[in-house]
């Protein structure tokens, strides 16, 4: 036997030359990272322990960022298309030529009609800046990707309680005792949820997962609710039914902090029916519990009586709470009535409702922390109801998603568990009610900026963006009767509408970071066709396409001009309070990215390129009086731009002395201070301001000091959303601004001011007997959209996708391992590999999103499994509902917000015999503008 004790190893090797701290961009979560440098190169990436988002941890994506940074798919220089669109044939050009080309198209357009530019920015983390460019240019056609992502969640949250999940708020992970999670897109608040689940598990708190698929977070949930897609609203309203019926609602909370006590006009003959009864002050009226008299809802000392009624002639005006009782105590929301449709046994629904009530009311948390409310009343403690919730795409990507998201917030509020210890907590700059957000704008003047911000929160039909003839002002038809509250726009409709010339034709489509010719579009094959279609004169229907991306994505092939972006380690960025912030419930925070390495290619950060384009176009704000550049690059903008006097993109180290928090003059050393501090800034909220933020005087004062808003703005939660009633009332014939006849009934039905459930549109549009199966996608935890496949490590974890089938469907069709299925929706057919998955709702099939790739893209070999076996479900999902025979184009979107209804999809399937050689459909290869990756990677510095 050999003796081996002699081996000596160095257990204290040098780690790296230097650590540079910046912000991850491997998904939308935005964790802090330590980038270890060796010899000027990136050697290793780990989480930053001091960072408020991830506190040192890092997921599978973040930990493999180095392979994205060095991916062979990185674009190398600006490109000019030389072959036909879609071929991938390009010629490298200089930046000067690229920017001149773009300015040559956009300059004349701005003088003639700025709305001929559609500028949509995908998974942009600089929307505050890109929207500012679009506003200065003057086009109404700007948005990012929220409309095809989770706008239902965001908008329902804002309208109901001034914020939703993720960037708006979080469960009180340290105190909650019961956590309920509804369908989730994993890159939304990725690490904080994992860290939070870890905390819950450590102290034995319970997790209930509501998801048709038991994987990921749902795999570790103590209780799994394998709900049928599109029925979450029914389930939630059944929980509400149970809680109200048992009187397990927080009446004191409802009276003080919500509009439950507001009186609603019940006069059937009045145009005001359904609106709040208002006093001389114009404020909604409540009946005071003590004086029994009417009072403005915000009168100090007045606690509204939820049981009050007001008699006027033979009309009885009732409170919002009574209208809720009438609706939710009804039999249609009884557990027995929803059990079959939701796929959840009535007994289980009752048990979950009882558990929510038990934990909320019997395990109450009391913190001895005095605080003062907005009416000046002092409280000696903070009372918590330790149940919390989180939800994202699973419930929102349906045509009934907005009302479902509203229902979930209503459930939280009834339990008294919003902004209390153990419940859900807002993160600055939220809470922020709909009234505090801008209204949408689309006022176009050739050669001039737009008349205000593009996106916002309408409070009535008067805020719709319609011309005198009732036509949409925006290319995506946001803020029209088709989807009045489309707060994030409808990116998924832009190409389709531009191609159809509905509502009008455009000249230039300018996009950033949105793979619209592949996985980011519904109906991908036809979208490719729309991008390449020519009119009778032989010109492209969409005449010019400019696209910016860091990588060789499928969309690159469809543009005429490519502005190559940098990787996330080569760029400046600000994760700004003006944009999509990364704050924590206990503090305001923002962060930067900075070039920890300089690009080795002829690429520029997109935001810097946009500044340079703005200068060439002479846009206001981008140039000084003499026409010279106001900002040299994006870093210069980040430091020196002021949105309001003293308030800029970054809140930390403002002012000449660098001491300003939130407010202060630009500080030329600001970025250096961020770098010194690890790439981020945090300012903690005072302890007495920690909870009850919408009604907490100390919080309101702190928020004004920090520039979050300019005047204190306390408000109550909207169980009843009066602005929705204003749209509904118009549909009933009141007011000057009327919906078109074909939408009247739908607006009346869907703009209900109290949450309700209706069947997803697909269920009504297709024969559900013929298409009995629900089909979904999920995102792997280790992938972000299509990006993961260019990463040599991550594609080894998931290099192909299967359609996963539940046992019932697997057995009924006699499937065996290795089989393919022909899967059809009313719109199209795909033929794809299948696998068995038992932990799955009986009538649901699913696959991983965006694993399938087009041959030639992402610097992968054409025979890569992503391009041969991998597939997209997108081919089965149309951006329009099936034709109704009325000549109209009906979007496959939520009728309230325009959110893309991805998850409404219904399919049928059968075994594919014989098995195809590849997943179908197959698209011809595109020529790679960057060649292919190397045959081996073994990179040690």
């Amino acid at each position: 036997m050999r003796q081996t004790n002699e081996t000596q190893i160095d257990t204290s090797p040098a780690i790296s030359d230097e650590i540079r701290k910046t912000t991850c961009y491997m998904c939308a979560c935005r964790c802090g990272i330590n980038v270890h440098m060796k010899g000027g190169e990136v050697a290793y990436i780990e989480g930053n322990r001091d960072h408020p988002v991830n506190k040192g941890v890092l997921c599978g994506k973040g930990s493999s960022g180095i392979m994205q940074h060095y991916a062979p798919s990185r674009l190398r220089a600006p490109l000019k298309r030389v072959g036909p669109r879609g071929s991938g044939e390009f010629e490298e050009i200089s930046w000067e030529e690229a920017l001149d080309t773009a300015a040559g198209w956009l300059g004349p357009l701005r003088k003639e009609d700025p709305s001929k530019l559609a500028f949509f920015t995908g998974r942009d983390q600089s929307q505050s800046f890109t929207s500012w460019f679009a506003q200065a240019y003057g086009t109404p056609n700007y948005a990012a990707h929220g409309g095809f992502c989770s706008v239902n969640m965001a908008a329902a949250g804002i309208y109901t309680m001034g914020g939703a999940f993720w960037e708006f708020g979080q469960p009180d992970w340290d105190r909650t005792k019961l956590f309920m999670l509804f369908g989730v897109a994993e890159d939304h608040d990725s690490n904080p949820i994992k860290m939070g689940l870890g905390k819950l598990k450590e102290r034995g708190a319970k997790v209930i997962g509501v998801n048709p698929i038991r994987s990921g977070y749902n795999a570790i949930a103590d209780e799994w609710v394998g709900i049928t897609p599109g029925t979450d609203g029914l389930f939630i309203m059944a929980l509400i039914h149970e809680l109200m019926r048992a009187g397990k609602v927080d009446l004191s909370y409802l009276a003080r902090y919500t509009n439950a006590g507001f009186l609603v006009d019940d006069d059937p003959n009045s145009p005001e029916k359904g609106l709040f009864i208002r006093g001389e002050s114009g404020k909604p009226q409540v009946v005071c519990r003590d004086s029994k008299g009417l009072a403005d809802y915000d009168t100090p000392g007045v606690i509204p009586n939820l049981a009050a009624q007001m008699f006027e002639g033979d009309v009885t005006h009732r409170t919002v709470f009574q209208l809720m009782a009438e609706r939710y105590l009804g039999d249609e929301y009884a557990p027995e009535a929803v059990a079959e449709r939701t796929g959840i046994e009535a007994a289980k629904i009752k048990s979950i409702a009882a558990e929510l009530a038990r934990v909320a009311f019997e395990e109450e948390i009391v913190i001895d922390q005095p605080w003062t409310d907005w009416k000046g009343q002092k409280h000696d403690k903070m009372i918590g109801r330790p149940v919390s919730f989180h939800a994202m795409r699973g419930i929102s990507a349906h045509s009934n998603g907005f009302q479902t998201c509203r229902a979930l917030h209503m459930l939280q509020i009834l339990l008294g568990s919003v902004e209390v210890p153990g419940g859900f907590r807002f993160k600055p700059p939220y809470p922020k009610p709909p009234e505090a957000h801008p209204k949408p704008h689309a006022g176009v003047t050739p050669g001039q900026p737009l008349d205000g911000p593009h996106l916002g929160y309408p409070l009535g039909p008067e805020h719709l963006l319609l011309d005198e003839d009732g036509n949409a002002k925006r290319i995506d038809k946001a803020f029209t009767w088709e989807n009045p509250l489309s707060a994030h726009g409808l990116m998924h409709m832009v190409i389709s509408n531009a191609h159809a010339g509905d509502p009008y034709k455009i000249d230039t489509l300018f996009m950033y970071m949105a793979n619209m010719a592949w996985n980011s579009s519904m109906n991908s094959s036809e979208v490719m066709q729309m991008l390449t279609d020519k009119d009778d004169s032989g010109e492209y229907v969409i005449p010019h396409i400019i696209y910016s991306d860091a990588y060789s994505s499928e969309m690159v092939a469809y543009a005429d001009l490519i502005l190559p972006d940098t990787t996330y380690l080569e760029r400046h960025d600000c994760i700004s309070l003006l944009d999509r912030p990364i704050c924590e419930a206990d503090g305001a925070a923002d962060a930067i990215r900075w070039p920890v390495v300089e690009p080795d290619r002829d690429v520029r950060g997109f935001q810097t390129a946009l500044i340079q384009l703005g200068v060439k176009l002479g846009l206001p704000g981008f140039v000084t009086e003499d026409g010279s550049a106001k900002f040299e690059d994006y870093a210069d903008y980040i430091v020196n731009h002021e949105r309001r006097p003293g308030v800029g993109p970054l809140a930390g180290w403002r002012g000449e002395d660098g001491e300003g928090k939130g407010r202060g003059a630009p500080n030329p050393k600001q970025i250096d201070k961020y770098i010194e501090n690890g790439g981020f800034w945090v300012d903690h909220i005072p302890t007495e301001a920690s909870f009850y933020k919408p009604w907490n005087k100390a919080y309101q004062e702190w928020a004004v000091k920090r520039g979050i808003f300019d005047a204190e703005a306390p408000y109550v939660f909207n169980l009843y959303v009066e602005p929705m009633r204003k749209f509904q009332r118009a549909a009933e014939g009141h007011g000057d601004i009327q919906p078109p006849e074909h939408l009247r009934e739908r607006v009346q039905q869907t703009m209900d001011p109290l949450p309700m459930w209706y069947e997803p549109f697909e269920d009504s549009n297709v024969d559900v007997e013929e298409y009995p199966i629900h089909a979904l996608t999920q995102r792997p935890m280790h992938m972000y959209h299509s990006w993961g496949s260019q990463n040599a490590w991550l594609r080894q974890i998931t290099g192909k996708n299967y359609l996963y089938l539940p046992t019932k469907i697997w057995e009924a069709n006699g499937f065996e391992d290795g089989d393919y299925a022909e899967v059809s929706s009313v719109h199209g057919t795909i033929t794809v590999p299948v696998a068995h998955h038992a932990a799955l709702n009986d009538s649901t099939v699913w696959t991983w999103n965006a694993i399938g790739k087009r041959k030639g893209a992402w610097a992968l070999d054409e025979d890569a499994p992503e391009a041969t076996e991998g597939f997209l479900l997108n081919h089965l999902i149309h951006e329009l509902q099936p034709p109704k025979g009325d000549g109209m184009r009906w979007a496959n979107s939520d009728p309230i917000t325009g959110q893309a209804a991805w998850f409404d999809l219904r399919v049928k399937l059968k075994k594919a015999v014989p098995k195809p050689a590849e997943s179908q459909p197959v698209h011809p290869p595109i020529k790679s503008p960057v060649g292919k990756g190397p045959a081996k990677v073994a990179r040690k510095i």
């Binding site: 081996t7 930990s63 019926r245 009782a325 070999d861």
Partner: protein, 243 residues
């Protein structure tokens, strides 16, 4: 053939909580990143952008489905790396002395200078925890980040394996399983930690914590305050008076 030490001063290892692992692969890529830059040859990837990518990983996460007799099917995420067995057959089978178990802490390592890439150790490992690097031609395995855990160039809190440091849900724990008073030993005791495939007789040092029982909620339904809407209003009146 190579000798194992008769005892080790410590039994350093991992405790992996299967009730908490969500399967994010953070540990997989953090491990790959660290160990590519540090101990021994880099962990290579062959055909990394092609039809059959195949690279060396020291830690992989597998997902299994379990269907209990009385309930819905469940998913278990199962991270797996070398378990640093006390009776490690991969050591005794090594013809060159390249594979060895450290007397001071029980870590099983490969001296790459002595490794001839014969693959016997991988064949002998019941857990499939060793991978022959196709580029370097040497056997690779989990080192328990021996170049981190004692590394004086790292802050003390970072002297843990890369997989433990990065795990977002806190499902991975590191410590001395030979010390009954260590945090990891206590965790194993409290949560019923178990050996993977004990029947192999290799006495793995790493332990797994089992998933907790699931789908057990049976809270009794609530009693209604009233059956009719009118009755509800009556209840409401009374309830408001009590506030």
């Amino acid at each position: 053939m190579t000798c194992l030490p008769s005892t080790t001063q410590k039994k350093l290892g991992l405790v992996i909580d299967l009730d908490t692992c969500v399967g994010c692969h953070g540990c997989v890529t953090a491990c790959k990143g660290w160990n590519t830059q540090n101990y021994g040859a880099p962990l290579s990837d062959m055909d990394p952008y092609g039809a059959d990518p195949s690279g060396t990983f020291l830690n992989r996460v597998f997902s299994y489905e379990v269907t209990p007799e009385d309930g819905a099917a469940q998913t278990v995420h199962f991270p797996k790396s070398c378990l640093h067995c006390e009776d490690a057959p991969c050591v005794t089978v090594c013809p060159t002395g390249a594979s060895y178990k450290r007397e001071e802490d029980g870590i099983v390592l490969v001296d790459e200078d002595k490794c001839i890439g014969c693959g016997l150790c991988a064949w002998s490992c019941a857990y499939g925890a060793r991978e022959l690097d196709q580029d370097a031609g040497v056997m690779k395995k989990c080192t328990l980040c021996v170049d981190r855990i004692y590394n004086e160039n790292l802050p003390e809190e970072d002297r843990v394996p890369a997989c433990v440091r990065t795990c977002p849900s806190g499902a991975r724990h590191f410590g001395d399983l030979g010390d009954p008073n260590s945090d990891v030993s206590k965790l194993v005791e409290e949560r019923g930690g178990f050996d993977l495939m004990p029947e192999q007789g290799t006495k793995p040092v790493n332990k797994y914590l089992p998933p907790r029982l699931k789908d057990r909620l049976d809270t009794a339904p609530m009693i209604p305050v009233a059956e009719e809407p009118k009755g509800f209003l009556g209840w409401l009146d009374k309830a408001l008076e009590k506030l």
